[in-house]
Amino acid sequence: MAKSHKPVVWFPFAAGGTVIAFCIPVIVLLTFLAALGHVPAGLSYEKLHAFGANGLGKLVLFGVVALSLWSSAHRLRCTCYDFGLRADTLVATVLYVAAIIGSIASAVFLLRI
């Protein structure tokens, strides 16, 4: 059976798509409320810092951000191709590297909390 690297790209993509569908709308709603000037109590420094200082909280935040980043990178790659940008190897490299850097940066920031 031929080996393919596709599952490596596809698993985080599918997981990220699910995470984005379930979690991102409500997170956007929370920061939208903050943008309107009604900062939810949960977005206060004390509450959010306490959540990020907790090991489980770190894992949840990292999972949401990293999987969403990876899924978005994969979808943006497909979007570029569909809009006629056919330099797929270059686009894929740039976007996946960006997603990996963003994920590592998120992990570093979370560990500093």
Binding site: I20, A21, F22, P25, A35, A41, A73, R75, T79, G102
Partner: protein, 130 residues
């Protein structure tokens, strides 16, 4: 006699205007731009949170601009459209068979919508919105 295979030219930048179905596909593709940009905002938020109370207050203050409100509206619309189409696709992506019969597609998608609603309300409640 030379062989003349049919080569159908597909314009690479305007093919999606050929059929409404392609336009709907592309409208979903575009949501990835706003969701991707919002993910970058989330990474920045984690950075500000790790730098202390003053940096976090500055981040919250920076959110309060007209540009930010417009971006949030676009990101919210994109996230909702992505979520709806994702849950509608679940019944095709993972059909569920019990015994001889397949579970109706509406039940599979409906269960996802219900779980989404419960999770979203729980997050809003924990975050102290109500």
């Amino acid at each position: 006699m030379s062989r003349r295979p049919l080569v159908r030219e597909v314009p690479p930048t305007s093919w999606f205007f050929r059929h409404p179905r392609y336009l709907r596909y592309m409208s979903r593709e575009i949501t990835s731009i706003f969701v991707g940009a919002y993910c970058v905002l989330l990474v920045v938020a984690l950075q500000r949170l790790s730098e202390g109370p003053a940096a976090w207050a500055g981040f919250l203050q920076a959110l309060r601009s007209a540009d930010s409100i417009v971006f949030h509206l676009l990101a919210l619309a994109a996230a909702l459209y992505h979520a709806g189409t994702w849950f509608n696709a679940t019944q095709k992506a993972m059909p569920l068979q019990i015994g001889e019969d397949f579970v109706p597609g509406n039940v599979i998608s409906g269960a996802h919508y219900a779980a989404w609603a419960v999770l979203s309300i729980a997050v809003l409640f924990i975050a102290g919105v109500f």
